[in-house]
Amino acid sequence: MVDVLILGAINSAVYAMLALGFTLIFGVGRVVNLAHGSFYAMGVYIAYTLVVVLGLPLIVGTTAAVLAVAGIGLAMDRVLIRPLRHSVLAVLIITVVFALFVEQVIFAFYGYTSRNIPSFTTNTLTVLGVTVAGQRAIAFAAGVIALSLVWLLVYRTRFGSAILAVSQDREAATYLGIDVDHVSRTVMVLSAALAAMAGVLVAPVLVVSPQMWVLPLIKSFAVVILGGLGSIPGSLLASVLLGYSETAVSRFVSSTLTELIPLVLILVTLLVRPSGLLGRRIEL
């Protein structure tokens, strides 16, 4: 039982890192970024290139990878999303095409064979009698710190107020003198960096392949649907629910069924409460 409590908390933190950026982008720009999972995948593969292929120290390589993905997020906002923002369909198409493109580029360099990313530590530690891989513990700690920082940014700073204002009413925020484009851009960078960070933190304990953008995208989607699109507290709550239900199912039922949980969550939420647990219905 205790192992489910601990592993579930770790999974929840990782899902929250993925979903928070996804929901922030949606809230601020009404943009559904189908390339969100690609940030995660790019983080992993850039880190792999820097650390394993080029031999940089692990901490340098992973930090550089997160920064590089943040830069890619910035470029994506500039070149692809901003010119097309008026059309929901165009943004959906262009972001999914970008995701497929990234998959092809990764495939061109590394093929479909899965790769191993070195861990930050091979030590294990024992929490309440449960042995936890050190890498998972680091992922949890880093995740909680990153999420707390984002929380403070959004709810305790002037810039955070601007983010919330733009999420509530883009036009009104413009009238108040908020630089809406700057807010959207920054949120995109933040979201790309968070997803890439989640990637480099959990990659050592996962299968790494060019298609690894799909599952994180579906999980981010499940979390924000369950929590309510655009709601930050909602996505944190939903991350915990998803993290724990996956851990519990893989522990007590079967680990092959865990992939179906986000899909079931999506379907049930859409049927029973389409606005999500803590969301308000957003008309598009």
């Binding site: 949606f26 559904v32 189908l34 010119p83 097309l84 059309s87 929901v88 369909l89 165009a90 959906l92 198409i93 262009i94 999914v96 095409v97 497929l100 493109f101 092809q104 495939f107 799909v214 579906i218 989607f221 649907i225 699109l229 992939e259 179906l260 899909l263 999506i266 379907l267 859409l270 049927l271 389409p274 598009l284």
Partner: protein, 302 residues
């Protein structure tokens, strides 16, 4: 110029293709183009008319293809029966998918359909003893040994689908679909059973895609998990948007022309989709109604 004249002229021209083109390879490209034209038109019926952009149209193509291929290779059913059974399976699947998803719209619907396609692709790989996993199903019986016969079969199929869908969208029923796209609440308030109309559009959109998938299996003599891929769903969307969304004929023309172009660009392999999107960007920015539709409008005005 009457409305039907250009359509008839194009069909006659396409019927003459095998007389002009003796090369088997080119004829197979045109055969494929017929199928893509029908698929793009079928996507357009749901997505262009009710405003629900389906990002998982491959679900229907793939299910039609796998059903036909498996019935043919395992149970030795004739192609016609297998393709028809695929169509039946796709209709059932469309209703199953439609019940939870059709109440959604915009990005919600897009993501939900993308997720469904993801499940199907995963199932095709997980059920490898049945589906052959990554390799897929080989040894599907060819539709016909003669390339012109295969071409004419797909041309007839495409003509029936495109004309049928075009006629459906011009009918009163099609008008209701457009009304739903414009204002769903108003349609409901005026006493229309919106759900029935949406479900009808989904089924009528799924069926041709499923049949085209079955034909595809017998034309290619092979089916692999790529028929469920997001890349295929997105390709169909791009074809429609480039040709002209919400017109059926623009979608069909986009499907036909881009398939032919795609074959010219074969050397680019996996980067074809990227080239399509490079064409897509200026189209969305400068001709949002679609290239074919814009040109047709210009011709009509003279």
């Amino acid at each position: 110029m009457s409305r039907t004249a250009p359509g008839v002229a194009i069909l006659v021209a396409l019927a003459l293709v095998p007389l002009a083109v003796r090369d088997r390879y080119f004829l197979s490209v045109f055969t494929l183009a017929n199928l893509y034209a029908a698929i793009a038109a079928s996507w357009d019926l749901l997505s262009g008319y009710t405003g629900r952009e389906n990002f998982g149209h491959a679900v229907f193509i793939g299910t039609g293809a796998y059903t036909a291929a498996l019935l043919n290779t395992r149970l030795h059913l004739s192609p016609v029966l297998g393709i028809a059974a695929g169509g039946g399976a796709v209709v059932a699947l469309a209703i199953l998918v439609g019940v939870p998803t059709l109440r959604l719209r915009g990005p919600y619907f897009a993501l939900a359909t993308l997720a469904v396609a993801g499940i199907m692709e995963r199932l095709a790989l997980l059920l490898w003893p049945l589906t052959g996993g990554e390799d897929g199903v080989y040894g599907v019986q060819p539709l016909s040994l003669s390339a012109p016969t295969t071409y004419y079969t797909t041309l007839a199929f495409m003509a029936i689908v495109v004309l049928g869908l075009y006629w459906a969208t011009r009918s009163e029923w099609g008008m209701v679909l457009r009304a739903i796209r414009a204002n769903e609440e108003a349609c409901e308030a005026s006493g229309l059973n919106v759900t029935v109309y949406k479900m009808g559009a989904l089924v009528l959109s799924a069926l041709p895609a499923g049949l085209a998938g079955g034909l595809y299996a017998h034309v290619q003599e092979h089916v692999g998990p790529a028929v469920y891929s997001a890349a295929l769903s997105v390709t169909v969307i791009i074809m429609t948007v480039i040709g002209g969304i919400g017109t059926i004929y623009g979608a069909a023309a986009g499907g036909f022309l881009l398939t032919a172009l795609g074959e010219v660009l074969r050397g680019f392999g996996p980067y074809r989709l990227l080239l399509f999107s490079a064409i897509l960007l200026p189209v969305i920015l400068f001709w949002p109604r679609g290239v074919v539709v814009q040109l047709a409008g210009r011709l009509r005005r003279g």
